[in-house]
Every structure is written in structure tokens, then in C-alpha cells.
């Protein structure tokens, strides 16, 4: 299987026939494998350049959510008096998961526009920017897990084996985010105003998701509708193992997986079917 893939990749790099290409999605996936080092390089670049001139450097990746958490904890537990147990952990994990999604999708769009100049000159698989955005967010997420666990231990939250459930949770979140990122990348090529509009939508979406507030402030009649929000499901999957040491039920897993698969499928099919068009548009 692996050797067959290697053979295919080898052939692809030395022979190109515009009339005899695989399905756009397959073609894009093969190209991505061929250009896997580019993904790594792009991830490294965005992590390195983000804090390049700052003194603390990559430490900001961990400090940022930590400081936000302190501010939000002060504001919400003192001013609004949410009575959630371990509120700092609740809000920190929520912010982390949300940033993972919002960073992936927003920077995928930004990278796609940045990469436009390159796509015009040299061949690179176009999905590389969305995949790199996902990679960057994943690295950031993993890095900020460190302060999360430190604070959790500090606050006396006991860590269970259920924490392993966070791994598939991140995987599902990643699939969902990548799908949305690909859809947005397609859209932004055609309409530049997707970028600001999406910013507004993200803010709205964030307030519709229980990130900084507990679920119990939602009126019970709205709850069924509220729970259809894919980000709510993803958040549950990510947060429950840490907060309560339990892995959420199959209803939540099932729906989240459906969302993730649907998003990734729609995203990659639409993105790939349009990918020949981008060069003309960017």
C-alpha cells in the first residue's frame, strides 16, 4: 500500500498529463502528500513569525489563553457571579477549543489570499494553506494544553483516564474546522467580503456557544435547538473529560461525527471542484 503510494507519487512528479488526471479530490490529496513538507514549513513559519520580534516568543502561545482566562474569570465570576464549579478551567478550555476552530478557519482564508500571489506563479496544492492553518492551530492547542493542565492541577481538579477522550475530540474538531476552512477558502476567492462578514458571524456564533457562560443560563425550551450547534457538541467532547472526568454519551459523539464528516466532505469536494478556477480569481 505504502510502496504503491510512493510509486504513484514518484510517477506524478515526473509525468504530467492534463488530460489524464484523477478525480480532483484524489488529485489534491496526492499533491498534499507530495508537498507534506510544505505543510510543515508553513506551520513552522506561522508559529515562528507570529511572535518573532517579541521577547517571550512562542511562550505567548501559552500566555495568551492564560491571560484571557484570568480576565474572563475576574469579569464573569465576580461581576456576573456564575456559580460554575472550576470556572477558570471551564472558560480556559472553552476558549482553547473555540480559538482552535476560529483560528483555523480565519487563517485558512487569510493564507489563501496571501498564497494567491504564489498560486499565480508556481504550482502548489491549493489546499495546502487550509491544511497548514489547521496544523498551526493544532500546535497552538497542544502548547496551551500545558497551562490548562497546570491550572487544573493547581485548582485541585483530578485528572482521569477519560482525558484520553480529548484526543478523538480534537480529531473531530479538526475535521469539522478543516471542512469549514475549505468552504470559506473557496468563498473568499470569489468574494473578498467573506472575510469581514465571517468575522461578524464568528462573534455571533461564539456568543451562541457556551464558552464563557454555563449551559444552565439557557431557558430549557431553547435547549434542544441550542444543542444542535456543532460547536456546542465539539466543546462538550473536549471539555467533559477534563471538567468531570467523563466521556460524553454516544448521542453527542454521533452528531458531532456526522457534522465533522459532512463538513469535511462538502468542503473538500467543493474546494477541489473549483480549484482550477482559483488562479483566475485571485
Amino acid at each position: 500500500m505504502i510502496s504503491r503510494l510512493q510509486k504513484t507519487l514518484q510517477e506524478r512528479s515526473v509525468y504530467y498529463d492534463s488530460a489524464n488526471r484523477s478525480h480532483p479530490v484524489i488529485d489534491e490529496i496526492l499533491s498534499l502528500i507530495e508537498y507534506r513538507d510544505l505543510v510543515v514549513q508553513l506551520v513552522e513559519r506561522s508559529i515562528k513569525t507570529r511572535y518573532k520580534r517579541s521577547v517571550l516568543g512562542v511562550a505567548w502561545t501559552m500566555l495568551n489563553p492564560f491571560l484571557t482566562m484570568i480576565v474572563l474569570t475576574l469579569v464573569f465570576s465576580q461581576v456576573f457571579r456564575f456559580s460554575t464549579e472550576n470556572y477558570p478551567i471551564y472558560v480556559l478550555s472553552g476558549i482553547m477549543a473555540w480559538s482552535f476552530f476560529s483560528d483555523t478557519t480565519t487563517s485558512a482564508m487569510g493564507e489563501m489570499l496571501w498564497g494567491g500571489g504564489l498560486l499565480n506563479r508556481i504550482y502548489v496544492p491549493k489546499a495546502v494553506f487550509a491544511v497548514a492553518a489547521l496544523g498551526t492551530s493544532t500546535v497552538n492547542l497542544v502548547l496551551s494544553l500545558i497551562p490548562l493542565f497546570v491550572i487544573a492541577l493547581f485548582l485541585g481538579v483530578s485528572l482521569h483516564l477519560a482525558l484520553l477522550g480529548m484526543i478523538p475530540a480534537v480529531l473531530i474538531m479538526g475535521m469539522f474546522s478543516l471542512g469549514v476552512a475549505l468552504l470559506l477558502s473557496t468563498a473568499v476567492v470569489y468574494f473578498a467580503d467573506v472575510l469581514p462578514v465571517y468575522g461578524v458571524i464568528l462573534t455571533m456564533w461564539m456568543y451562541l456557544t457556551p464558552i464563557i457562560y454555563p449551559l444552565d443560563i439557557i431557558p430549557p425550551s431553547f435547549l434542544p435547538l441550542f444543542k444542535l450547534n456543532p460547536m456546542y457538541l465539539m466543546l462538550e467532547l473536549f471539555r467533559q473529560p477534563l471538567m468531570h472526568g467523563v466521556i460524553p454519551g454516544w448521542d453527542i459523539w454521533g452528531l458531532a461525527i456526522v457534522y465533522a464528516v459532512a463538513s469535511l466532505l462538502a468542503g473538500s469536494v467543493i474546494f477541489a471542484s473549483r480549484s482550477n478556477d482559483y488562479v483566475y480569481r485571485i
Partner: protein, 502 residues
């Protein structure tokens, strides 16, 4: 026969341009609902078919908007043809805009990795290539400094070094050879030619006909996306020049290419040579004149002979046989600027000398030239005295392995062989040889970005200028005279000269 490296079969590329600009989602939605989304189809390439063989240097010419860049983009796999079929055998390396994708905040080293990854190389490959890239780009200790601290030249050098770190099967070159200083250009060119020798196919796009003419063995001419000519470079360029010239009779000419002629002060009077068919010789009696070179001279072999009398009172810096457009001397003298009295320092015979092409691409040192230094200046010194007539003779004996010789008073004072490395199937040397242009020379018809063409072609094919020193018996021979023949010539002409003076 091996299959061609690049094959285009009826390739067409369509750009869809919205008739009116629809920039917003709302507007788009309204128009979509109203079924009013109108597109203008623009075919950047129309049914273009050709094949390029392994190791060819292939030129693409055409005006702006003719489809040249689109064609390169199709080969670079940036664009997929709307119709038709493209087959590429081998890895393509685009040398389009060097340093595209560099990030100013990253160090040179980090940028090498990023840029190499953009070209599809793996990290382990790059790690091996890194020392070679760093030394080729001459970046030195700057390798670990952020790119924003680099000079433009350094960025371009690094870009070239990265792009060409691995020999590609197909190399795309788009007006990028003006990178850095002359020695670096020389290095770039060396590398390109060594790639070609190893079988790399090079596709080159340039506005300069001279560049295409110098490098490419075959060329194609695109106009409005259509292939108008394909084949021998000189033939294609000739057709291009003919067609793209404005036709005065037609009113539509206003929109055609405008060719601006050289300024009047650069024009020189013309004269006819006195041809002696028996001796295969043409005498050029008038100084400060242009002669048609074609019947006179052969670029493959020949002799230039003349008599010079050096006068300390006259301008010492003098050019004798000379091409009018950009100083292609055949024989000239230079002065020693370091001494106040400025004595004659050297006498040089040079083959070729299209300064624009040669200097830009090869650096000064590569001219086939013979230089002699006057006594006391430098070794080897040749004793020449003021006030006396000297016969200066230069011969060249053909391509590809011709040797150029310089004689003073029938004594050989120097010789040099052509440097073949930069000859593209010897055509470059042939075109530029010995300061004589081939009959249909079309170089330096330079197309500018606004679509107009500046006529930088020489008005002359061969001209004689004396620069101040006294000059007599300027003759051009179609044959490369042997030392004995030169001796004979020297004796007879000397006798005639002495008689004349007496």
C-alpha cells in the same frame, strides 16, 4: 527517438472575465437571481500545438498580452488548459519571479527551507542542498539573519540558488536573468548551460529579441493567443519584426506597435566599399562611414587589416573598426589613464562585442579578444613607436573552434580561441562574431511594457571610425589570411605607402 519533454496538443485557455465587476455577495446574489451574471470569455491561448525536445532552449516571443505568460503558467501547472492536452515529462522548475514566497521575518536559512518546500522538495533533500545553496548565493554569515536585512541583490541571488539547486528536466525562464552583478549573472548562466548539457529543456520568455536570438535554437511567436510562427529562431523573429511593424498605409497602424527610430545624431553617413573580387577583399576608403557588411565580410572567417600611425598630439583613445550601435570594436586602443601624458597603453582586437548581451550575461572577461600592451606598460610588451606607420591585422578562422589572431607589422602578437561554452549551437558566436551582424540582424528591437518597440538596431552593419589617430588602407577580407600571406601583404603595402609618402 525519445518522446518530447513538453507537448501541447490544441491547448486553449479561457479566462472568464465578469462583464461588470460584481464584488459583493449581495450584488452577486441579486444578479444570480436575475440570471444576469454575464461573463466575457477571453481566450488567452487558442489551439496551440507544439512539442519541445529534450535539451532544447526554446524561446517564446510576442507582445504583451499575447499569451506568453499564460503559456508558461500552463507548463508550470499553475493553469489547467480549458481544452486540449498538455503532457510534461519531468520535473518543472519555474524561474519566474525569484524570491516569491520569501518571508522577511524569517532567516535566510529558514527561507531556503520554506521556498524549497514550495518547490516540492522534502526537508531532508534541502538539508543536503543547504551548503551548496549558501555558497552559490554568496550569502555567507547572513544565512542566519532575517531576510529583511538583505539587499535586493542578495534576495535575488538566494532565490536563484534555491530555484536551481536541483537540476530540473524543464526550466522556465521569464526575464529573470538581470539578477545581480555581472559575475553573478555569469554564474547563473554557467549553471543554466550546464543544466542544458545534462539534458534540461529550457523555455525562455523575453521582450528582448537579442536575448531570444542569442540563446534559443527554436522559437515560437504568439499573438493574441494564437501561434503565428514556430521554428528556427531567426526565421520566427524575422516574421515577427515584419508583422509587428506598423504599416504606414493603414489607419489601424496607430494601435499597432510603435517603433521609435534611433536619434538622428547617432546616424552616420553611408558609403560603398571598393570590392576586389579576385582578392576577396573590400577596401573601406572613407573614415566615419557605414558600410553594408553583407557582401564584404563573412562571420566565419576573415581578416581585417589597416595601417595606423600613432600621433602623441592626437586623441590616443581611438577606435578603428567599429559598430555604431553599442561600441562593438574590432580593433581599438586604450590609454593609460594613470599617467598624466596618457600614452597609449594597449591595442585590443576583439571578436563579438554586443555589449548589451555579452556584458549583461557573460561579464566583460569572456570576449574573445587579444590585447597587446605597449612597451614599458605590461608584459607582453610590443614596441610601437609614435610617428611611424604600423600594419595592424586581425584574423579569425571560423567556428566552432576558431582562433583569433592579432598581428602587428605581420608579426603575430597574440591569439585566443573562442569560448564555446556560451555558444548555443554556435549561433551566438556566429551572430555576434567579429563585430559583424548577419544580414537580417534584428537584435535590440526592445519591446517596452507599454507595447511600443524601441528600435535599438544598428543603423550600420560595419563602419570605420578613426577616433583621431591616422588611418590608412582599411581592408576586410573574406578569408582568414595565413601568416605568410600577411607578410606578403605587409611588404607590398609598405612599399606602396613609402612611395606615397615620398
Amino acid at each position: 527517438m525519445t518522446p518530447p519533454v513538453v507537448t501541447f496538443e490544441n491547448v486553449a485557455v479561457r479566462y472568464r472575465v465578469p462583464r461588470e465587476s460584481v464584488s459583493g455577495i449581495k450584488e452577486y446574489a441579486i444578479r444570480w437571481a436575475q440570471r444576469k451574471l454575464a461573463y466575457e470569455d477571453f481566450w488567452a491561448l487558442k489551439d496551440v500545438s507544439f512539442a519541445i525536445q529534450r535539451g532544447e532552449i526554446f524561446g517564446v516571443i510576442g507582445r504583451n498580452g499575447s499569451g506568453k505568460s499564460t503559456l508558461l503558467k500552463v507548463v508550470a501547472r499553475v493553469l489547467t488548459p480549458t481544452r486540449g492536452r498538455v503532457v510534461l515529462r519531468g520535473k518543472v522548475a519555474p524561474l519566474l519571479e525569484l524570491g516569491a514566497g520569501f518571508h522577511p521575518e524569517l532567516t535566510g536559512r529558514e527561507n531556503v527551507f520554506l521556498n524549497s518546500a514550495l518547490l516540492g522538495r522534502t526537508k531532508s533533500e534541502v538539508r543536503e542542498l543547504l551548503p551548496e545553496i549558501a555558497s552559490f548565493a554568496e550569502i555567507g554569515e547572513f544565512m542566519d539573519a532575517p531576510l529583511r536585512t538583505y539587499s535586493t541583490g542578495m534576495v535575488a541571488r538566494l532565490g536563484f540558488a534555491v530555484a536551481t539547486a536541483v537540476r530540473p528536466e524543464i526550466l522556465l525562464v521569464d526575464e529573470v536573468l538581470s539578477v545581480g552583478d555581472a559575475p553573478f549573472q555569469q554564474k547563473c548562466l554557467d549553471r543554466m548551460y550546464s543544466f542544458q548539457e545534462q539534458g534540461t529543456t529550457i523555455i525562455m520568455v523575453s521582450h528582448s529579441m537579442a536575448t531570444i536570438d542569442s540563446f534559443c535554437s527554436r522559437a515560437m511567436w504568439l499573438s493574441k493567443g494564437e501561434l503565428l510562427a514556430l521554428g528556427n529562431t531567426q526565421e520566427v523573429i524575422r516574421q515577427y519584426i515584419e508583422m509587428e511593424k506598423p504599416k504606414e498605409a493603414e489607419p489601424a497602424a496607430a494601435s499597432a506597435v510603435e517603433i521609435s527610430p534611433p536619434p538622428a545624431e547617432k546616424r552616420i553617413a553611408t558609403a560603398e566599399p571598393v570590392i576586389d573580387l579576385e582578392k576577396q577583399r573590400a577596401a573601406l576608403p572613407r573614415v566615419h562611414c557605414i558600410y553594408p557588411a553583407d557582401p564584404i565580410i563573412s562571420v566565419r572567417h576573415g581578416t581585417v587589416s589597416l595601417w595606423l600611425r600613432f600621433d602623441p598630439q592626437k586623441p590616443p583613445h581611438t577606435a578603428i573598426l567599429f559598430h555604431s550601435d553599442d561600441s562593438r570594436y574590432v580593433i581599438y586602443t586604450t590609454v593609460d589613464e594613470s599617467v598624466p601624458v596618457r600614452p597609449l597603453r594597449s591595442l585590443t582586437a576583439r571578436a563579438g562585442g554586443n555589449r548589451r548581451v555579452m556584458e549583461t550575461y557573460f561579464g566583460r572577461s569572456r570576449f574573445p579578444e587579444v590585447e597587446v600592451y605597449f612597451d614599458g606598460q605590461q608584459q607582453p610588451g610590443v614596441p610601437l613607436s609614435y610617428g611611424e606607420w604600423h600594419m595592424i591585422t586581425m584574423t579569425w578562422e571560423g567556428f566552432p573552434d576558431g582562433v583569433m589572431r592579432l598581428y602587428i607589422n605581420a608579426e603575430q602578437v597574440g591569439e585566443t580561441a573562442y569560448d564555446r561554452r556560451y555558444d548555443n549551437n554556435y549561433r551566438l558566436a556566429e551572430s555576434l562574431a567579429v563585430g559583424v551582424r548577419p544580414p537580417q540582424w534584428v537584435g535590440e528591437l526592445v519591446q517596452k511594457d507599454d507595447g511600443t518597440v524601441e528600435d535599438l538596431r544598428p543603423q550600420a552593419t560595419l563602419s570605420v571610425l578613426d577616433g583621431g589617430q591616422e588611418l590608412k588602407n582599411v581592408c576586410v577580407y573574406r578569408q582568414c589570411l595565413s601568416p605568410d600571406e600577411i607578410k606578403e601583404l605587409y611588404e607590398s603595402e609598405r612599399a606602396a605607402l613609402l612611395a606615397e609618402i615620398a
